[in-house]
Symmetry: C2
Subunit: 371 residues, 2 copies
């Protein structure tokens, strides 16, 4: 039986809806995965995440390997039991954090050595260990270790990196144990279409369980990002689910779904919530603004989230200004409901073959808010 099976159920233009069958149940796609970096979607209980509409969450192998440790989580029965999340969990390889958080990085064919951002201790990570750590966590969908080229890396650098990425992917696949979860590859290549194609070709030969687009939303212009997505998705969409890593801005989600992306993860809804930024159909609402001091209305009048059903903007502002921990929780609930509700609306629009109409309306409403 396949470790991961993508079943398309509807199509609207290039947008597609379906089910992603994992060993821990099906995930409705297009899917947004809330991020539970340290074995918790910050401030929330697992059932609140599920009730918000999440079928699958993401956990970070780097953070959990440092604290409490992959072996420690395994000894406690695995990540699902540890954090009491029964649904599927996708884990990243740890590579992105090594390349963004860790210090003293040294990269060679074997892998990458670095120092922990927590205590400076010397560590190393190779493709085999990345798989082993994810298996210890009990991951249902694992990602291969790849390099995230530094911003501004040139063509030659990127070409060298993606070739090594493919060799690492082969080693990752060989290292996976019989009972291991699915393993997805990551197409790199920066903004160069021929390099993206080369990366996709090398990875497709390995017959991985699905393919992600990496190295995007790292500072390049939005239109360039969308063009890369548009040209790369068709290269891999016949070979399983397509996952756009690290993208969670509502407008980006809508547009990327229109280009055939099936899966997303991002800290945006949860992280912005903790800064007092609430996602709405008309853009972000800064709840700290004094204009909300006496505002008895919910953040969004038609929102059915636990925050909007009972609490006013004035209350949310009060909690935030008073430094109350409940502020972060109520804001996080709303933002997750907003993004997960958006995915549900996208799935429905695709099922009814009216993706274009929905996307046009959604993006126009967002723009109204920016005027």
């Amino acid at each position: 039986m396949a470790r991961l099976r993508y079943q398309q159920t509807a199509r609207s233009g290039r947008a597609r809806a379906g089910l992603l069958h994992t060993r821990r149940g099906a995930v409705r796609t297009p899917a947004f995965m809330p991020v539970g970096t340290q074995a918790t979607v910050k401030t929330l209980m697992p059932e609140e995440v599920a009730q918000a509409g999440a079928d699958m969450i993401l956990a970070n192998t780097y953070h959990l390997s440092l604290r409490p440790g992959a072996e420690e989580v395994a000894a406690l029965g695995g990540l699902h039991r540890f954090m009491a999340w029964d649904g599927p969990i996708l884990t990243d390889s740890g590579g992105f954090q090594v390349f963004s958080l860790a210090a003293n990085r040294k990269l060679d064919e074997s892998g990458v050595s670095f120092r922990s951002h927590l205590d400076g201790s010397a560590m190393s990570l190779g493709p085999e260990r990345a798989v082993q750590a994810q298996e210890l966590l009990g991951s249902d969908v694992m990602m291969v270790l790849d390099e995230c080229p530094p911003p501004g890396a040139d063509r030659a650098y990127i070409a060298t990196a993606l070739a090594r990425d493919a060799r690492w992917a082969a080693r990752a696949l060989a290292a996976r144990s019989e009972g291991g979860g699915a393993l997805m590859g990551i197409v790199q290549g920066g903004v160069y279409h021929d390099l993206r194609r080369r990366s996709a070709e090398l990875l497709l030969e390995l017959e991985l369980d699905g393919y992600a687009l990496g190295g995007l939303s790292v500072g390049e212009p939005k239109e360039i990002m969308m063009e890369v997505i548009e040209r790369t998705v068709p290269l891999v969409s016949g070979a399983g689910p397509v996952y756009l890593m690290g993208v969670g801005d509502p407008a980006d989600l809508v547009r990327a779904v229109g280009l055939g992306v099936d899966m997303f993860d991002c800290v945006l809804p949860t992280r912005t919530a903790r800064t007092g930024a609430l996602l709405t159909a008309r853009g972000r609402m800064n709840i700290k603004n004094a204009r909300y001091k006496d505002d008895p209305r919910p953040v969004e009048p038609d929102c059915q989230c636990p925050t909007c059903r009972r609490f006013s903007r004035a209350y949310l502002r009060h909690l935030y200004m008073a430094g109350e921990l409940l502020a972060y929780r109520l804001n996080t609930l709303h933002n997750l409901h907003f993004v997960l509700g958006l995915m549900e609306r996208l799935r429905q629009a695709i099922a009814q073959d009216r993706y274009e109409e929905f996307a046009r309306g959604f993006l126009a409403e967002l723009e109204l808010g920016q005027q």
Copy 2:
């Protein structure tokens, strides 16, 4: 109809159980009121507080008067609507915080002037304004403004203060509007029994809706505190509910219930939770301790709280060490369940006339943990 009616339903020695009928429903006594200082029981949703077993909560008039303001809360429909708590709310007068947090205090017969601890702005509080602010909040059970004598105040100081307290209580009563909530007096007198008696006599003349014991648990030895409670409760217990302010240590709760106290409030369970201290039958568990790193057991094996039902000590320790906000929430849930569960067990023990047996067993178990 009485604004507050205490109905005794059972007795065991001097301990009594009953119902406190407020305009927003009945409260089972002995009752512990979680503290929602800034219109939130920190980290929790209202329904979590209710599910933990709380019938009534306490809110702080001082904090809410400073931020967002009593008038502002009134304009938003009152505190119940603001924070979405449908049950009864008891508010303090603000006096305790004025005497513990505010700067530049000046006290005279009219009231007390001071500077806000938030922004230094000049403010004043008298018995009439204390009632008005509580009515603006929509309080169901209000407290009269009184002075909290400074630690180490002598007999003469305390005697002068309690006489003024009684005059303030009369003014508070006169200031209460037709639709205002119940109003409770506060028996002061330090550790001097004759002064406590004098304070009680002066307040009883006013026929307030119930009586609290103030100025305890402020540094005096435990045995002295218990002796004051023992001798003061009988003075007022015939005239409504008896409320011991600011006491929430589990052993103190058990002993004070045995002396006839009906109501308690304290930040102890919620505040200690946020420092990583978990309440158990054997005393406090410091979840930061390295010994819990690999401990798969719940905090208390037989606890039915949302934390213990699903999460291990190892997980709680991980969250706390990682600085995750969920740590504060899960710890708070457990501690509130512990204290509110204790009140339920006390009510049952009283109903079955076996308070003494229960108290002996509970206190012996606690002592075992301290060995």
